[in-house]
């Protein structure tokens, strides 16, 4: 049985046609299910948990929405025993493009084919992330895998974790390319090399593979997690290997299985 979670933005008239086409396609393919329209008052996790409790047959949740909607639901619900699908519809579809998912009604055959890929996600305090985590420039004390501490000689550094390579590869260190299902995470540290009146220059990046990293920030900072901001000063990031089961469109040769 399928549960479809519709983004709040889909109430807008401009998406009527897309949604109508999608529903026609889903009916033709015989994969219709219960539809729940999300609202700011409803927690997606609560909705999914409630539906799982009501129906033991519920195995798949399809998120119909854009990047913001998808990542918000994944952040709260990646640990639930469910397979996720995604119909990218909406204004912001960068992650969907990078995941190679077709938009709108074109994704119905993908859901029907049901090619499930277990992928790694990160756990940031109590939230999950699928795409990236970015800690802004700050004085950080870092403990890696409980065995070593890492610090910047010039005190401040930026910390980034990518799970899906960004569209702008220049954001990552040259030669580095994360893999979504390699059961491995790397933290990329970008310390300040020197400061001048014209600004700061960044030193070459450091890359450390990890299972668990603890960051202590000098003060509470806004940490970006898949485009959502969280104010934290104590951060624990863990690798959750193969935590998320996602329906994908195709399996390229380079995929690690």
């Amino acid at each position: 049985m399928y549960l479809y979670l519709y983004d709040t933005a889909l109430k807008q008239r401009q998406y009527d046609r897309v949604v109508s086409n999608l529903e026609t396609q889903l009916t033709d393919l015989g994969i219709v299910g219960k539809i729940v329209r999300l609202s700011s008052l409803l927690s997606p996790r609560q909705i999914i948990s409630e539906e799982i409790r009501r129906s033991k047959e519920l195995k798949t949740v399809i998120i119909v929405g854009d990047d913001t909607c998808f990542t918000k639901i994944i952040q709260q619900s990646a640990d639930l025993p469910i397979t996720f699908g995604w119909v990218p519809v909406g204004p912001k579809l960068d992650l969907a493009t990078r995941l190679g998912l077709p938009f709108g009604a074109a994704s119905a055959p993908v859901l029907s084919r049901r090619r499930v890929l277990p992928i790694d996600v990160g756990q940031f305090n109590q939230y999950f992330f699928i795409d990236y985590c970015q800690v802004p420039l700050s004085t950080v004390t870092m403990s890696l895998n409980g065995s070593m501490t890492i610090s910047a000689t010039a005190q401040k550094m930026e910390c980034s974790i990518w799970n899906v390579p960004p569209t702008n590869r220049g954001l990552m260190p040259p030669g580095y390319s994360p893999v979504l299902n390699d059961r491995q995470f790397e933290i990329v540290l970008q310390p300040i090399a020197k400061r001048s009146i014209f600004g700061s220059t960044m030193a070459p990046a450091s890359i450390f593979p990890f299972n668990e990293v603890r960051l202590k920030l000098e003060k509470t900072m806004s940490v970006e997690l898949d485009g959502h901001l969280y104010k934290e000063n104590q951060i624990v990031i863990k690798l959750a290997p193969f935590q998320l089961k996602l329906i994908v469109s195709r399996l390229p040769d380079s995929l690690q299985m």
Binding site: S147, I150, T153, P165, P173, Y176, A203, S206, P209
Partner: protein, 163 residues
């Protein structure tokens, strides 16, 4: 699909030949020049050190210590290339290369040793993998190889026994 390994990634210009010959993901760990690591550092992949490490470094693959880098503890690796400063013992299962800028204060053990002119080594040196060497290690006694008499360095024998 963009999310998976990018086989067409350009190789970085600043990285050493070891990295340019391999796919980018094989270089697992890079300790950059502005980073200080304290504690034991274990890795299963290739490691490039450009910064400061205060603690034992161990990897099952290749280790490269670049010029300007400092390691203040022992090193264990499959192969290693040292261009920086190491204060501690180095044990390489295969090749150990000391470049002209290398400064090593400690004993070294390797199967194949390459020392460039200008490299500084303050410590004892032993070669791994020869039958004579392993026999000597076990017995701790002197062995004769033809007309040449040699012994294992005392420090290495002690280390083996205590390990």
């Amino acid at each position: 699909m963009a999310l998976f390994r990018d086989s067409e990634s350009t190789t970085p210009s600043h990285l050493p030949p070891m990295q340019t010959n391999t796919t980018p993901h094989e270089v697992e760990t890079i300790v950059g020049p502005s980073v200080k690591v304290e504690g034991d550092f274990n890795s299963q992949g290739n490691v490039l050190i450009q910064g400061i490490v205060s603690g034992n470094v161990s990897t099952e693959k290749y280790l490269q210590v670049e010029e300007g880098a400092k390691i203040m503890a022992s090193i264990r690796a499959d192969s290693a290339k040292i261009s920086g400063e190491v204060k501690g013992n180095i044990r390489a299962k295969n090749t150990l290369e000391l470049t002209p800028t290398a400064r090593v204060v400690g004993d070294i053990e390797a199967k194949t040793l390459i020392v460039s002119p200008g490299a500084i080594l303050h410590g004892k040196c032993a070669m791994l993998g020869t039958v004579e060497a392993s026999d000597t290690k076990k017995s701790g006694k002197r062995k004769f190889d033809g007309d040449t008499e040699f012994t294992m360095p005392r420090s290495l024998i002690d280390e083996e026994v205590s390990a």
